[in-house]
């Protein structure tokens, strides 16, 4: 297990390097001169040159890349081109909201997804199964912003069950419930499909028939025998959700005014604040790599065969 963890950890090194390189190149290719942006539109050419020298923009590209890596190593993501605040500070300040949103969304999606998936597998072919299938296709297909706007209009606007803006959420959880539900719908639908199909696959196997023949109660078969064996695909989906939390939260946070990372990213994009965008992209890519690393460890722990398979080819 320790060897597996170490090899898997080493495997992330080229990926991380690639991410850094791509993020650097993207920022380099972005049109517009960063020194010009910092200096302002009316700066003299000398002032721009001075600022460029200060920022190290006149150095050769490999040297700039090294300097960039060195700064990243100490957690320096640069400063916002708009507010001049350190990007790392802003991320630390805004991340908790997005994390809270993600955790709540996960809670919704796991509970709803598991419930729908189990019901679908248990009553396979019946009315409940059909209903769950239709709902999950809808959940996967309907764009998240449509869900968001409809929920906002009906539940927050007309029925007034929820606040229409989560901007002053502070330490409270309540304003985040509706955004989190919106964010969770899609993955709940996804999870329901995966749970249903992997449960059906397991339930058709011989050991389940044996257990049933022995007279093991249905609930015990479901939870002790079937669900445990369907765990891997379920964990995959949960991991995918966790790591791509930013995708959905950009949209959800924009609609519901959540002061988190997604909204921050959106504002930065609208203002062409490249250092901030780069910082957020890097941050979320790292979270993705980290979560995937943890997931693989969990897989290997659940199913030892994975360990051999994963490095069987290379």
């Amino acid at each position: 297990m320790a060897e597996f963890a170490l090899r898997r950890l080493l495997g992330t090194v080229p990926v991380i390097f690639g991410i850094l390189a791509i993020a650097f190149v993207v920022l380099y290719l972005v049109p517009g001169d960063p020194a010009q942006t910092v200096a302002g539109p009316r700066a003299s050419p000398e002032a721009i040159a001075r600022i460029a020298a200060e920022m190290g923009l006149d150095r050769p590209l490999p040297e700039r890349f090294l300097g960039y890596l060195r700064r990243l190593a100490v957690g320096d993501l640069g400063r916002s081109a708009v507010s001049d605040k350190p990007v790392a500070d802003s991320i630390v300040e805004k991340f908790p909201y997005t994390l809270k949103l993600t955790v709540l969304a996960m809670a919704f999606s796991i509970s709803l997804g598991l419930l729908a998936g189990i019901l679908g597998a248990m009553y396979r072919g019946g009315v409940i199964d059909r209903l769950c299938t239709v709902l999950s296709v809808a959940g996967i297909s309907i764009p998240i912003f449509l869900f968001g706007l409809v929920f906002l209009y009906v539940l927050a606007g007309k029925l007034k069950w929820f606040p229409t803006s989560a901007y002053r959420v502070g330490d409270a959880w309540w304003p985040l419930v509706l955004p989190a539900f919106t964010l969770g719908v899609r993955s709940a639908a996804f999870l329901a499909r995966i749970v249903r199909s992997s449960l059906i696959e397991v339930l058709n196997q011989d050991f389940i028939r044996t257990a049933r023949a022995k007279g093991v109660p249905a609930s015990r078969i479901l939870f002790r025998h079937a669900l445990v064996n369907a765990l891997i695909p379920i964990i995959t989906v949960i991991g995918l959700d966790l790591s791509s939390f930013l995708n959905g939260s950009v949209i959800v946070e924009t609609i519901f005014d959540v002061p988190g990372l997604g909204r921050f990213a959106m504002e930065a994009i609208l203002q062409r604040d490249y250092p901030v965008i780069q910082g957020i992209v890097l941050f979320s890519a790292f979270i993705f790599v980290f979560v995937n690393f943890l997931l693989d460890l969990v897989y290997a722990w659940i199913n030892p065969r994975v360990r051999d398979e994963m490095f069987g080819q290379a």
Partner: protein, 330 residues
């Protein structure tokens, strides 16, 4: 083709018909719309839906000359000045009815006075067109990378799969955003941004298929007979991946259309003046409280198309690729 049709269930057939219908709408858009989707009119701003036909006043008769001696004078007026008696002059010019009947604004107008229905119809064109191009692009790259990695294995595989890992590690929306930042707004940018996000997933699926096929007996036989790598890949691996490719394509269309809609919704898609569904939702969002349908109608269009492609993809997978049933993620 007919065999495929017979093997599809009725939901599959229904979704296929629905998609064909939408493709028809996209192709015939110019003949289907009652109004120019880009024509703005401040007087129609946020107008409520009307009936099938509306009675509109005829535009004031055009003066014969913009400027100069005759500027601002009607035909009757000119005839009168030329010495024709007044009653003859007015009779010479046929009296026009003061109003005409024109097609109505069936779903109302947006904040620029543009006809929502016409924009929705044209949106079909943009949505399907962008989705299709992006998918084709992503499929080509993914196919090449996946086949090479799966067939050659070893270092080629390792290197290409790390590349895939890197692309999968970026949150897809942010990657697309980064690309549209570098290349600026535009049709090609959006297509490229969606394709760059989609190819990695395709490459991974194709690779696993190619990996299986590599050790199949007919491939080994071809190798033993001295067939070149290119020949084996093109004539043995590629045709055997075809069912998989069709499934990936249908499913990918759903993802690509959603991605385009999300980018447009965030204002990072094509020119916001163009009638994309995502852009219409974004524009309608600002009027959500008073005019919710402005955002809801285009949103429903997106949902409908994506549902159709997802259902068709599911059905095709069950028919063409039964081994992988259900376990699509792995």
């Amino acid at each position: 083709m007919t065999e495929l049709w017979h093997r599809l269930s009725w939901t599959g057939r229904l979704s296929l018909l629905g998609i064909l219908l939408l493709v028809g709408v996209a192709l015939a858009a110019p003949w289907l719309v009652p109004h120019d989707p880009l024509e703005t009119d401040p007087q129609r701003r946020l107008a409520r839906p009307t009936g099938w036909w509306v009675e509109v006043p005829v535009a004031v008769q055009e003066p014969i000359e913009k400027d100069g001696a005759l500027a601002g004078r009607s035909v009757a007026d000119l005839l009168a000045t030329a010495g024709v008696p007044v009653h003859l002059a007015t009779a010479a010019v046929p009296t026009r009815p003061s109003t005409v009947w024109k097609p109505g604004f069936w779903l109302g107008c947006d904040q620029y006075g543009q006809d929502v229905f016409s924009r929705l119809v044209y949106g079909t064109r943009l949505s399907l067109g962008i989705g299709f191009s992006a998918r084709l692009f992503a499929l080509t790259i993914g196919l090449v990378v996946g086949l090479l990695a799966g067939y050659f294995g070893g270092w080629t595989d390792w290197l290409l799969m790390r590349l895939v890992d890197i692309f999968l590690a970026f949150p897809s929306l942010l990657l697309a955003i980064a690309i549209s930042m570098v290349l600026g707004n535009g049709l090609l940018t959006v297509i490229l941004a969606i394709a760059v996000v989609g190819w990695a997933e395709t490459a991974r699926i194709v690779r696993s298929q190619a990996l299986e096929l590599r050790s199949a007996e007919f491939v080994l036989a071809a190798q033993a007979m001295g067939a070149s790598h290119a020949r084996i890949i093109l004539t043995h691996l590629l045709p055997n991946c075809l069912p998989l490719i069709i499934v990936i394509f249908a499913m990918g269309m759903a993802t690509a259309i959603l991605a385009e809609a999300s980018l447009s919704f965030l204002g990072l898609g094509v020119d916001p003046a163009l009638p994309t569904w995502g852009g219409m939702v974004a524009a309608g969002k600002d009027y959500l409280w008073a005019y919710p349908t402005l955002a809801i109608y285009p949103g429903c269009c997106i949902a409908l198309v994506v549902i159709l492609f997802n259902v068709l993809g599911d059905e095709l997978r069950d028919v063409l690729d039964p081994g992988r049933k259900g376990n699509w993620l792995a």
